[in-house]
């Protein structure tokens, strides 16, 4: 989809090239993470794709077409662009911000309005509420969502993201990363994503490209990079404790166990039998379509009759099946529990994970 061929960028009056004879291929629908220390050339590499920076030599192709064949303005309108400080236009409303590229492409008003609302909903921002607000009325996380929506407005096949979550607090950042991954499952864009945060690269990337002094040091899947760092530089970049980093690689759905559950209206006897046969102390309670409602404890049922639902306790916390083990572990540590239930996006019960499963999952290869 995107191909760099012997690309070099040398700024005037500097000794070394910012990007040095770089070759790279990025497949369609893939998130490619460019990672490295500041000044390593990762941002320069990215900005050459939409010609904010022109290469000194070499070629870049999108879908087999040399980008030099297009005029930069047209090229950019077909490439989504999200940057660290978001760059929302403070004098325009959220809707006007999102409509920027569609307006440049001269869409009619009705189509633009429809698209804006669609995107706001996609970003979980109520269009009625947010359409006419200004960027200054939004929180950092909301602004970032609008930034992503704006980049997606004209549905470009390629997106460039320059540390888009860099300026956010850790909790908001992790939330938006998860949201974005979920979004990407639907939209399947080809994405070049620049970051200096190796954890972010491991979490978000289909492919990681480690850059140093304008050259690629190593490229591969997150698992490749973690298990076989090419040299000391990559090893240092990953830092100590590779097992802990692997927590970000594995999703809950990969290691969860099937779980026993009973309906709210299952008689208590039946529930107790299941629990005793399987040595369970607690059991999940579900409603229609396997929707998770709460749980019941064996000790409460001793010598009682009635429905399972009568002894329902509120489920304090569950984890989404697409979240990483890191997220699951943090939740377990937060509530001080040795296991956690896993649900899907519609809150349907999918399984459970125990703390030992997490230990086993990340220590296998090490």
């Amino acid at each position: 989809m995107i191909k760099f061929e012997n690309v070099t960028k040398k700024y005037p009056n500097t000794k070394n090239s910012a990007v040095n004879n770089l070759n790279l291929e990025i497949n369609e629908g893939e998130i490619c993470m460019l990672v490295g220390p500041s000044g390593c050339g990762k941002t320069t590499t990215m900005k050459m794709v939409n010609r904010l920076i022109e290469p000194t030599s070499g070629n870049i192709y999108i879908d087999g077409e040399n980008i030099m064949a297009h005029n930069p303005v047209d090229l950019r309108r077909n490439i989504g662009y999200v940057i660290q400080n978001i760059g929302l236009f403070p004098h325009m409303t959220i809707a006007e911000n999102i409509a920027t590229v569609p307006k440049e492409k001269k869409w009619d008003k009705e189509r633009i309005d429809k698209r804006v609302d669609e995107l706001l909903e996609l970003m979980e921002l109520n269009p009625e509420v947010y359409r006419n607000r200004r960027p200054s009325d939004l929180s950092g996380g909301q602004r970032q969502r609008v930034g992503v929506a704006r980049a997606l407005a004209a549905d470009p096949p390629v997106m460039l993201m320059d540390e888009p979550f860099g300026a956010l607090d850790p909790i908001t950042r992790s939330k938006l990363q998860n949201e974005f991954l979920r979004l990407q499952e639907k939209i399947r864009k080809t994405i070049i994503f620049v970051t200096h945060d190796i954890d972010e690269a491991i979490k978000m990337g289909d492919k990681i490209v480690v850059v140093k002094n304008g050259k690629i040091v190593q490229q591969g899947t997150p698992d490749d990079i973690l298990s076989n760092p090419a040299d000391e530089f990559v090893e240092n970049l990953i830092g100590g404790n590779r097992s802990i980093k692997r927590l970000n690689l594995v999703t809950c759905s990969e290691i969860m166990h099937d779980t026993f559950s009973v309906k709210m209206d299952t008689p208590l006897d039946a529930a107790r039998t299941i629990m005793l046969e399987n040595g369970l102390k607690t059991i999940a309670l579900t409603g229609q379509n396997n929707k998770l409602i709460g749980y019941a404890e064996l000790k409460d049922m001793e010598g009682k009759t009635g429905m399972s639902g009568d002894y329902k306790k509120e489920m304090e916390v569950t984890v989404d099946e697409r979240m990483s083990l890191n997220d699951a572990l943090s939740e377990m540590l937060r509530i001080g529990q040795r296991y956690i239930y896993v649900a899907d996006e519609r809150d349907n019960l999918r399984g459970w994970i125990g703390i030992n499963d997490i230990l086993n999952a990340v220590s296998i290869n090490d």
Binding site: N50, L52, P72, V73, D74, L75, R76, R77, N78, I79, Y81, I83, Q84, N85, I86, G87, L88, F89, P90, H91, T100, V101, E104, S136, R150, A151, L160
Partner: protein
């Protein structure tokens, strides 16, 4: 009370001079703003040119306004022309400087986002840069207009008419009433214009915050 009667008796002349003064300053300001905004935008593209232009406008302002008008007489004769040209030259500094700093102070990531999304240079200037620099530009225009009203008074000396006529004639004839009425009308005009533009400025600032 004497002065009040004097004012009532000569209200027609005073109003004529006031409107003459106002339209002289207005004409000059329209020209000044058009030139100043264009120059201010152009110099944001070249640091070296910016330095030179800002320096020249600053030196222009050290020339006493009286002298500036007098120098223009041999070229443009007496009347409104040298007055308007003098005011235009003199008020370039606040306008050019404020357009320049207003644009230069825009967060670079906003401009980069606009470029990255494929907006043309022309569109970026008119849809992004100028609207964002507007409060600073209006502040500059405000300073310039107040200066213009004051210079308009001095411009009477080169035969441009306006309220300065009343002051100069009053000094010549040692007529205190004329002097006071002239001075008060000039001050009133300056203060009113300043207040009005301050409201406009606040509105523009509010729109961006």
């Amino acid at each position: 009370m004497d002065i009040f009667n004097f004012f009532i008796n000569r209200i027609e002349t005073i109003m004529k001079l006031t409107s003459q003064h106002f339209f002289m300053v207005l004409t000059a300001m329209i020209i000044s703003i058009v030139i100043g905004v264009i120059v201010g935008i152009l110099i944001t593209y070249n640091e070296k040119a910016a330095e030179v232009v800002l320096h020249i406008t600053k030196i222009l302002m050290t020339i006493p306004s009286l002298a500036l008008f007098a120098i223009l007489i041999p070229i443009f004769r007496i009347g409104a022309t040298p007055a308007i040209i003098g005011i235009v030259l003199y008020t370039q500094l606040p306008i050019v400087r404020n357009v320049y700093t207003g644009i230069k102070n825009i967060n670079p990531s906003i401009i980069e986002a606009a470029r990255g999304m494929g907006m043309s240079r022309f569109k970026i200037t008119f849809k992004i840069k100028l609207p964002l620099a507007l409060p600073v530009l209006i502040a500059g225009i405000r300073t310039a207009v107040v200066m213009g009203v004051g210079m308009g008074a001095i411009a009477s000396y080169v035969g441009a008419g306006g309220l300065g006529d009343y002051v100069f004639q009053g000094i010549q004839r040692t007529n205190d009433k004329m002097i006071i009425i002239g001075a008060l009308m000039i001050s009133l005009m300056a203060i009113l214009v300043d207040r009005l533009l301050s409201l406009v400025q606040k509105r523009a600032e509010k729109k961006l915050s």
